[in-house]
């Protein structure tokens, strides 16, 4: 068991390191000079190379790439990711100032998305109305096909501007979270609902269900007590996809609702080639992915006894 755990942790650490290294290589290959972006483009011809060199020096951009890589990696291992080229803020301070609103948004949206997904899956397998089942089964693809920004703009128009129930912008207070979390939950619920609906339907036709019904279990009892647990397990395996959807959706949602957050920070940092910030975001994101997958790997055996047996014997 300990070996299993060590192996998984090592793999997670490798993923974070690989993401860091890849992002460095990619950023280094870009034709853009982060220092150029500190100056007005109209003044590029006036800014002497000496002036730029001094600033590049300050950020360590003038050293050979390999030296920069190891300098930065060494500092990063000690918790120092450097400072944003654009804002001057230390990377962790800048990320720290925006990450909590994103975490709150992502967690709440995830909860709502899971709720929506289970409702769709459960109802679709419970109902005897064929048209209703068909309708519900067509919902997951629909939620993914409607652009997030469209959902966001419609919700803001109706519930913030017309009805005035919720503030149209800002990060302060629970009310400001409602519309963003709904906007984000809808596309995120799609893949989960799709997977759950499929596995509910598959499980419902399994021999053990037939046995349970033959023994006199009601349709609902069987769904809740037998199918639910088995059908839910596969949903854990798409944790990575869900996280990806949450982060990608956050960029759009945070922009529409003028929220502070990691999504907008990333967008700005990429737009201005702010290398220290981009690398900080990559490390944070990779860590979240790695930890989430690690957690799934560790939880799964607890839920599925067959896996537990394999780990213990390995």
């Amino acid at each position: 068991m300990l070996r299993y755990l060590a192996g998984k942790v090592a793999r997670a650490a490798f993923v974070v390191w690989a993401a860091y290294t890849l992002s460095f290589v990619l950023l280094y290959l870009l034709p853009v000079n982060a220092v150029d972006l500190l100056f007005n483009p109209n003044e590029q011809q006036v800014i002497t190379p000496a002036v730029k060199a001094k600033i590049a020096d300050y950020y360590g951009f003038n050293k050979p790439a390999v030296v920069q890589y190891f300098d930065r990696l060494w500092a990063a291992l000690h918790g120092d990711m450097g400072a944003s080229v654009q804002s001057g803020q230390p990377v962790w301070a800048e990320i720290g100032s925006v990450i909590w609103p994103t975490i709150a948004l992502a967690l709440c949206a995830l909860l709502l998305a899971v709720l929506i997904a289970f409702t769709i899956a459960f109802t679709a397998s419970y109902t005897r109305q064929r048209w209703l089942a068909n309708l519900l089964q067509s919902l997951p693809p629909a939620t993914v096909s409607v652009p997030v920004f469209l959902i966001g703009l419609i919700l803001i128009q109706v519930f913030a501007f017309r009805l005035g129930w919720f503030p149209p912008m800002g990060t302060t207070g629970a009310a400001a979270l409602v519309l963003p979390l709904i906007t984000l939950a809808i596309p995120v619920s799609g893949p989960i609902a799709q997977l759950l609906t499929d596995s509910f339907l598959t499980e419902r036709n399994s021999p053990y269900v037939v046995t349970a019904i033959a023994k006199g279990g009601t349709r609902r009892w069987v769904l809740v007590r037998e199918v639910f647990r088995n059908a839910s397990l596969p949903a854990l395996t798409i944790a990575g996809i869900i996280l990806g959807n949450l982060l990608a959706g956050a960029v759009v949602v945070e922009t529409i609702y003028s929220r502070a957050g990691l999504g907008r920070l990333t967008e700005t940092a990429v737009g201005t080639k702010d290398i220290p910030i981009i690398q900080g975001v990559v490390v944070v994101t990779a860590t979240v992915f790695a930890v989430a997958n690690l957690a799934v790997d560790l939880i799964y055996p607890l839920l599925d006894p067959r896996l537990k047996a394999r780990i213990v014997t390995s």
Partner: protein
């Protein structure tokens, strides 16, 4: 290409709103825009207190006034610092601010400022000639150890600042710098507003870490900064050293508003919707298409064009085929500027009628001369030069097609449609334009190799002074058109733009400015497109939003009537 001013828009200083405005003030700031007089009438008695909730597109990132880049950063810098002088946005005339008077030597290499007494920074330390010296030294030279870049554009030839006594500062240059005088009032990027010695001693990171580290003398003080969200400014108690023309005593000389809440709202429809639903009092960065509907709903549209070099294509005189004068001339006159008014621009903007905006002193109107739309003449010039119309309608000479590559930035909403209009019209006279309108970072990459790959690069530079021609177009400074050694007009252009820097005599300076504009059009080096504008929409209760000479906003006179 002032990315910085990306969203500038234009004006109409709602100055007369203050109750005790000097009558002279109205005279020196009034203009003929109806918005001004309407707002002034609505004025009556200024109400003290309240918070102005002001929407902007760009998230302020770094609040050091000297490195203010985007329009919101400039606005914040303007409201937390003061400058030596105030430039009237309409006449371009300078008025006392922190300098009560000033003089300069005949060569324009030495400028002496007599400073106002009793001015203090918000940390209580006095403002004096050492403050001027310390700020100017760091602006001009930068401080590599602190991570502060130099600003060589505005400080070309800076030597030193002497401080013969606490209230006299003498600024020395190695070459004539007539433009420096108005630069002391400048509110664009690299704002010369004063910060305290304690701020200057801090590194870029320290300045970024805590808004309390940014200390100015201005009518407002930074209260809080939530990145991507908002910046809150609070009234400076005891402030009474506003620019002379704006000075009021309605609140003991301090600003009327208690606080200004500058909210970042990236989505245009959300800015507009927030204003309509009352979540904002006013918003900057109004889309041209939103102006008319908002006005119809009873909102004020306040706008001012941005003074400086207009949005214009600088044509590359060092690259085929724009190294050919006939081609440049044809591009200059071969499309109809007035067509921009149909569909692309609103009344808040103007069609460009010279290299520089019509408000800049020394501006000359070329609408009916060098810039007169004349497709027949354009075709004739190309024909005479050997450019014959080819089978696909594109002209050909010596086996080469007349294809020009134009580069632009997509940061202003009107840019792309305006450039596409030029592209379509030039095609009709046989010039094929390959157009790339890019986001700023990608633009920068292309800009770095513009001399060898782009025939025209579009942008604007804000500065309400004819020296902007020297800054952008002198072959020795900006050299926007790549007029290199061997080009027949090079020496003439160097001399003509330097002449603007050599005199402050209005007659001579206007003559020099005209000569430089004439020369630029004679050689068709710059093709003006439109005068960019800053547009604000505000509800009826907001009064006294001032646009300064660079169309940034000062909220010292602003109040909310309720």
């Amino acid at each position: 290409m002032d990315i910085k001013f990306r969203h500038r828009a234009r004006l109409f200083a709602l100055i007369g709103a203050a109750p005790l405005v000097f009558s002279g003030l109205a005279a020196c700031t009034s203009n003929n825009n109806p918005a001004t007089s309407a707002a002034a009438e609505a004025g009556g008695t200024a109400a003290t207190g309240g918070t102005l909730r002001f929407g902007v597109l760009d998230a302020p990132q770094y609040l050091d006034p000297h490195e203010a880049e985007t329009y919101p950063e400039s606005i914040i810098a303007d409201n937390i610092t003061d400058k030596l002088t105030w430039q009237d946005p309409t006449t371009g005339k300078l008025y006392p601010w922190l300098a009560t008077s000033w003089s300069y030597n005949a060569k324009l290499t030495q400028f002496t400022f007599h400073l106002r007494k009793g001015v203090t920074f918000s940390n209580g330390t006095p403002f004096n000639s050492s403050s001027v010296k310390a700020n100017f030294d760091q602006d001009a030279r930068g401080d590599a150890a602190l991570g502060i870049p130099a600003d060589p554009t505005h400080w070309t030839g800076y030597v030193s600042t002497d401080t013969p006594d606490p209230y006299t500062a003498v600024v020395n240059f190695s070459q004539p710098n007539a433009g420096f005088l108005t630069f002391t009032s400048f509110s664009g990027d690299n704002d010369p507003g004063f910060v305290a010695a304690s701020t200057l001693a801090k590194s870029k990171t320290q300045r970024a870490e805590n808004v309390a580290n940014i200390i100015g003398t201005g009518p407002f003080v930074l209260k809080s900064f939530k990145y991507q969200q908002n910046v809150v400014l609070v009234r400076r108690k005891g402030y009474d050293w506003a620019p002379q023309p704006l000075q009021h005593s309605g609140n003991g000389g301090a600003a009327y508003l208690n606080e200004i809440d500058i909210e970042t709202i990236p989505e245009a429809t959300v800015r507009t919707g927030s204003l309509e639903s009352g979540a904002l009092d006013a918003t900057l960065d109004v889309q041209p298409t939103d102006e008319a509907p908002l006005k119809a709903e009873g909102f004020q549209i306040l706008a001012q064009t941005v003074a400086g070099q207009n949005i214009a294509f600088s044509l590359n005189a060092d690259l085929f085929p724009t190294n050919d004068l006939a081609v440049r001339k044809a591009i200059q006159i071969g499309w109809d500027r007035n067509a921009l008014l149909k569909g692309v621009l609103t009344n808040s903007y103007k069609v460009a009628t010279s290299v520089i905006a019509s408000k800049v002193p020394g501006y000359v109107d070329y609408a009916n001369t060098a810039l007169k739309y004349d497709p027949a003449q354009a075709k004739q010039l190309l024909d005479a030069d050997g450019w014959k119309v080819g089978p696909n309608g594109i002209r050909v000479k010596d086996g080469k097609q007349l294809v020009v590559k134009f580069l632009g930035i997509n940061n202003l909403v009107a840019n792309e449609p305006a450039y596409e209009l030029i592209q379509a019209q030039l095609k009709q006279i046989g010039i094929s334009v390959q157009l790339s309108v890019l986001p700023i970072p990608d633009f920068e990459v292309q800009q770095a190799k513009a001399q060898t790959s782009w025939n025209g690069t579009a942008g604007n530079t804000s500065r309400d002074d004819p020296s902007v021609l020297w800054q952008s177009d002198s072959p020795l400074v900006g050299n926007g058109s790549y007029v290199e050694a061997g080009a027949p007009e090079r020496q003439a252009l160097i001399n003509a733009t330097q002449a603007i820097q050599n005199t402050l005599d209005p007659t001579q300076r206007n003559a020099a400015t005209k000569a430089a504009q004439d020369l630029i059009f004679q050689y068709a080096l710059v093709v003006p497109v439109y005068e960019p504008a800053q547009v604000i929409a505000a509800n009826k209760d907001v009064h006294g939003i001032v646009f300064d000479a660079q169309s940034r906003n000062l909220f010292y006179n602003t109040y909310i009537s309720k």
